[in-house]
């Protein structure tokens, strides 16, 4: 299978047009295999990606570049019950989630 996603690179362009990730604490809901996470996490101070799919999270962890390991974390969770204290994040990304 030779699928390529976002061949025109619009998603990354619009994401950065709509949000400044610089030194932000970011929560991504529905991170899946971390494809979107890898497009902004380098700029953040901390990124947490959550998804109910454990297999997808394993891929996200494996494919996370070495230079992002210290600032990116992945966890199995659902948006309806977030395992975080109130006011933990500056920015949330609801990614392909509904």
């Amino acid at each position: 299978m030779t699928l390529q996603k976002d061949v025109e690179g619009n998603e990354k362009k619009y994401l950065h047009k709509f949000a400044d990730f610089t030194n932000k604490r970011v929560l991504e809901i529905g991170c899946g295999e971390g494809r979107l996470t890898r497009q902004y996490a380098h700029a953040s101070s901390l990124t947490v990606g959550i998804d109910p799919d454990q297999d997808a999270l394993r891929v996200a962890l494996i494919e996370s570049p070495h230079n992002l390991k210290s600032k990116v974390d992945f966890a199995r969770a659902q948006a309806e019950q977030l395992p975080f204290s109130k006011e933990t994040f500056d920015l949330a990304v609801l990614a392909w989630s509904f």
Binding site: V7, E11, F18, Q81, E87, A92, L94, W96, F98
Partner: protein, 157 residues
């Protein structure tokens, strides 16, 4: 979904930002593309389940705005393109991953196979999706939260 938005609001700082990024069904175009040219050769069909999902998501965001949890600051649509080497690969992928949401009818598949076969050697087949991106800001001084526990009034004590 409205409950999820309530949870997201809880974990965001005051004035925190929520980015809503998702595909919107719109009978996406199928294209055959080579270095030399792009041909739009048809569209996929939207199924009720997928359309209902879009409606539900839109409704949830509208409810969040109505409750005074978030205010919408900006919204745009942009194209997101999936690309495969061959129409067969696209057909297999859609059948495996998105068969609940969109359909590709046999006539359109035939047209795509034919257009791809007649095109240049580097031709690929693409699905041009419509994406929504919206930026919402958390509002402090909430008007109404249906998920919060009802507190006791002073008059109760």
């Amino acid at each position: 979904m409205v409950h999820a938005l309530s949870e997201i609001r809880r974990v965001l700082i005051p004035d925190g930002i929520l980015i809503d990024l998702r595909p919107m069904l719109d009978r996406w175009h199928v294209e055959v593309v080579s270095a030399r040219e792009t041909n739009v050769i048809g569209r996929v069909n939207d199924f009720e389940v997928g359309l209902a999902d879009d409606t539900t998501a839109n409704h949830a965001m509208a409810q969040a705005e109505l409750h005074g949890w978030f205010i919408r600051e900006r919204e745009e649509f942009f194209p997101f393109v999936y690309s495969w080497d061959t129409p067969t690969e696209m057909e297999e992928w859609l059948a495996e991953e998105w068969n609940d949401f969109i359909g590709w009818d046999e006539d359109s598949k035939r047209v795509a196979r034919s257009a791809w076969a007649m095109a240049d050697g580097d031709a690929r087949v693409q699905l041009r999706m419509k994406m929504l991106i919206a930026r919402w800001r958390k509002v402090t001084g909430i008007r109404h939260d249906p998920f919060s526990s009802p507190g006791r009034n002073k008059s109760d004590s």
